[in-house]
Every structure is written in structure tokens, then in C-alpha cells.
Amino acid sequence: MSEAVITLHDIKKSYGKTEVLKNVNMEVKKGDIYGLIGKNGAGKTTLFKVILGLSDFQGGTVSLFGAKNEKENRMNRRRIGFFVGANFFSYLSGRENLDYYRRMKGIADKKEVDRVLEIVGLSQKAAKVQAGRYSLGMRQRLGLANAIMGNPELLILDEPTNGLDPQGIADIRNLITEINKDGTTILISSHILAELEHTAHCFGIVNEGVIMREMSLEDMAQMTGLTGLEVANEDVEKARKILEANGVRVRNVKKTSSSLEDFYFRIIGGDNNV
């Protein structure tokens, strides 16, 4: 069984009389991409703030990398990179902002800034522009560059594709998968289900401050009792006959066309492969 990187036990949090987190229990295992799903205001960002020590909570425990107390949690937070909104010093360039955080994190290697800029696809020219002049997409990329600086063992990403164009969304999706391949655990939130379905290995569904269910992709298939096979063919009936002739029971045939995203990338020649 793999080691837990984040363990939340019975977390309770309220603002006045309003309970925003109600006995939240959650576990993120090493190497996973954990997708936190929930509508706006469900408590996703509050959960992240609790994990990062930015919000006090009234009950329960947080353990990061097996820490036994808050002091150990604080030390272990140095192993985390996070993106919770792209906020920067507007008068500094993108590069200067990253350089600021590089110094703050105690990363001696100055080339680290170039490395992360290249990974997130921000050009050297763009990196010289003041962050205050960045588009939302560029700010998101800069925020991600900051998050991955220093190769953190755990990456926390709160709606990282918000405001991005389709190419940007596909790029970030690819980036997340690539980073995870190197062994980085990722906790990512979104209210766009399709986005997480493409990237996460396991999911937590949060609603009104409660984790309603935690499950892996396999669990999800078992729960519905069905697994599907998508066959793309112009002659659907022919495909059905072939499958039935080979003993495959076809329960549902649905005619679909390419997704808008597929069509978009076909037209512009981009890449949406994950």
C-alpha cells in the first residue's frame, strides 16, 4: 500500500455559524493525481488553505507526509508546490517574480527559473515583460512555473486551467501528466468534470463542505458495473455485428460525432493528446 502524502481527519471549519467543512476525511497517496471535484463554493479552496496552513480550523487533524504535529507539517510544506490563484508583483517581470520566489525558497541554482519557464511554455521574451501586463493565460502559466520550481514532491493546483484557451487547457493537462510521470503527487481541483476525468487517477467529490465519496477510476467502473469500449467507425451497425459475432454483448449503441475540442484541435493543428 502506498504511503499517504496528505491525510485529513475529521476537519471542521466554520465562519461564524456557517460550517464550510464538516468532518472532512481525505487521503492522497504518493504518486497519485487526486482530482477534487465540486461546484463553486463547495469548499475546495478552503480545504487547500487548511492544507497549506493559511486557514485555521476548529477540529480534526492535518498530516502532510506523515507529520505528527503542526511543526512537522510546516517543515514538510517545503516539499509542496502550489498554485492557488496567480498573483504576482505587477511591477516585476515574470522572470524577476520567479527569481524572487527562487530566492525565498532557498534554491541556489539560477537556471531553475529558465527550466520552469521552458516547461510551462513561457518564452524568454515574455518572461521579460512586467507581470502586470500579462494576460490571464500567461499569469496562469507563471503561477504554474512558480509551483513546480524546485521539483516539489507534492503539487497542489486549484483550478489551474481557469481562464485558459483550449490550447492552454490541453498544454496544462499534458504538463500535469508529465510531471506526475516523474513521481510527483498532484492534488488538483476543478469544477469541470471532463478536465479531471482526463488527468486524475482518483477522485474526491466535495459538496457543501463534505467529501461525499472518494474513489479511484477502477472503483468508478465497478460502481457503475459497466465498462465501455468506444468504437469509432462510419458504419456502426457493421461494427455491432462484428462484436456480437465474437460474443461481445452490446448493451448500448450511441451515434456521436467528434467532440468540439477534437474538432477545434483538428482545425488549428494543435495537440490535445494527454
Binding site: 497549506l52 496552513g53 493559511l54 509542496i80 508583483f89 524572487y100 530566492r103 525565498m104 486549484d158
Partner: protein, 247 residues
């Protein structure tokens, strides 16, 4: 903590507003020198020292405001503080970093202004005693900026906004708060209680520290540092410890 101070201090030095105001003060000192050349008075050195004293008097506004904004306001605007805490830097350490940074920036500007003032003063033939008095005046005003900044810092972290705190900082620097306290002290009911609210002001404690005839003068320096730098830092740490931080 050292990384935090180093990163932030280098950031402030890249801020144009800070560099511009520093240049303005230097230009004002040079302007005072030029004025002295044309209107030297009886003692040219002393005339320059008097004019420089006026500039040091408004230093709190000229240099104090940009430093206050660069150290405290930018932290909230850029959410750099959230990043630092999320990275595992403790809240008390972060506040101590900001205090050290503010003190360091004020000392740094003080050194630059001292060098410019001394060179200009020597060129104008100011005597050693005049130069020492002029530099003493500069550092006295610099210390006041530090103490006013530290007291205003409580409001920054209490309200998580530098705007109100900046207003308090400006009012303190220009002496409005002292005037208000004097007004309170003048109320007959307060006078009957033999209370003088102005004794608790930075200005009052520092003037006692500067008073050579006052027996406890050396102790008043310690009182000033403890009451207006150390205590506000402790209060800030306490009020900020459990504050919710927004992204």
C-alpha cells in the same frame, strides 16, 4: 528566514517608486547646498545643516511612505505572504522578516543620505560639530520612521490592508496623533486626573532620550525600542497568528 529577507529586500530595490523617492531626497540635499552657496548666512555650514534638517524632517513622508508600501502593502497585493506561509515559513518569522527588512531599508537610505550630506557639508566648509549634529538629526528622524512604521504595522496585519495603516503612519509622521493627544490632555476632566496622554507618544519618549539634562535619558532609548518596536512586533504576531488568509 534569511532567504525571505534577502529575496524581499532585493525586490524592493527594484521598485521604481522607492528609487525615485531616494533620488528626490538626494536632489533636495543638493538643492539645499546650492541654496546655501547663494544665501550662505553667517555660517555657511550651519545654514546648510539647517536646510538639510528641514529635508530630514519630511523624510518620514518622502522615504517612509514608499518603504512602508513596498514592505507591507505589496505583500498583501501580490499574495507573496500566502506563498511564503504555504511554503512553510511561520507567521511570526514572516513578521520578524518584514520588521528587519523595514529597519534595513531605512538604515540603508539613512547611510546614503548621510554620505551625501557629509560630502556636501564638508564641501561647504561645515565644522565637525555641525556635521555631527546634522547626521544625529538625520538618524533621529530615521529612528522615528522605524518606530512609527512598527506601530502602524499592527493595523496592517490586523486588517490585512495597508491603506488604513498608511493613513495612521502618515498622521503619526506629521505629528497629528501627538496633537490629538495634546487636545485630550487639555480636557479639564483629564487634567483633574493629572494625566498627560502625550507622555506615551514616540515624540515624547525620544525627546526625553535626547534631553541631556534628564537623568534617565539613556534608559529612554531602551524604552523607545521596547515600547514602539518590540512590543508592536509582538502584538502583530499575536493578532496575525490565527488570521484567515485569502487568495
Amino acid at each position: 528566514m534569511f532567504n525571505c529577507i534577502k529575496a524581499d529586500a532585493l525586490r524592493v530595490l527594484k521598485k521604481k517608486g522607492f528609487l525615485i523617492t531616494m533620488s528626490i531626497v538626494i536632489l533636495l540635499i543638493i538643492g539645499a547646498a546650492i541654496l546655501t552657496v547663494f544665501f550662505p548666512g553667517e555660517d555657511r555650514g550651519q545654514t546648510f545643516a539647517d536646510l538639510a534638517g528641514v529635508i530630514y524632517g519630511i523624510n518620514g513622508l518622502l522615504v517612509g511612505i514608499p518603504i512602508f508600501l513596498a514592505v507591507f502593502s505589496d505583500d498583501f497585493k501580490s499574495k507573496a505572504m500566502q506563498t511564503a506561509i504555504g511554503f512553510g515559513i511561520s507567521r511570526p518569522a514572516l513578521i520578524i522578516c518584514r520588521v528587519i527588512e523595514m529597519v534595513w531599508l531605512i538604515i540603508q537610505t539613512g547611510i546614503v543620505f548621510s554620505i551625501v550630506s557629509v560630502i556636501t557639508g564638508v564641501a561647504l566648509g561645515a565644522s565637525t560639530s555641525v556635521l555631527l549634529s546634522m547626521i544625529g538629526n538625520l538618524w533621529y528622524e530615521s529612528l522615528k520612521i522605524i518606530l512609527y512604521g512598527a506601530v502602524s504595522m499592527i493595523i496592517v496585519y490586523l486588517m490585512q490592508s495597508a491603506t488604513t495603516a498608511l493613513v495612521i503612519f502618515i498622521l503619526s509622521t506629521v505629528g497629528t496623533i501627538d496633537l490629538v493627544l495634546m487636545g485630550i490632555g487639555a480636557i479639564p476632566a483629564v487634567q483633574k486626573l493629572h494625566l498627560d496622554p502625550t507622555v506615551i507618544t514616540i515624540e515624547s519618549v525620544l525627546s526625553k532620550a535626547m534631553d541631556k539634562t534628564y537623568a534617565l535619558a539613556p534608559l529612554m532609548w531602551v524604552v523607545a525600542i521596547l515600547a514602539f518596536l518590540v512590543l508592536p512586533t509582538i502584538i502583530t504576531i499575536v493578532v496575525f497568528q490565527k488570521k484567515e488568509l485569502e487568495f
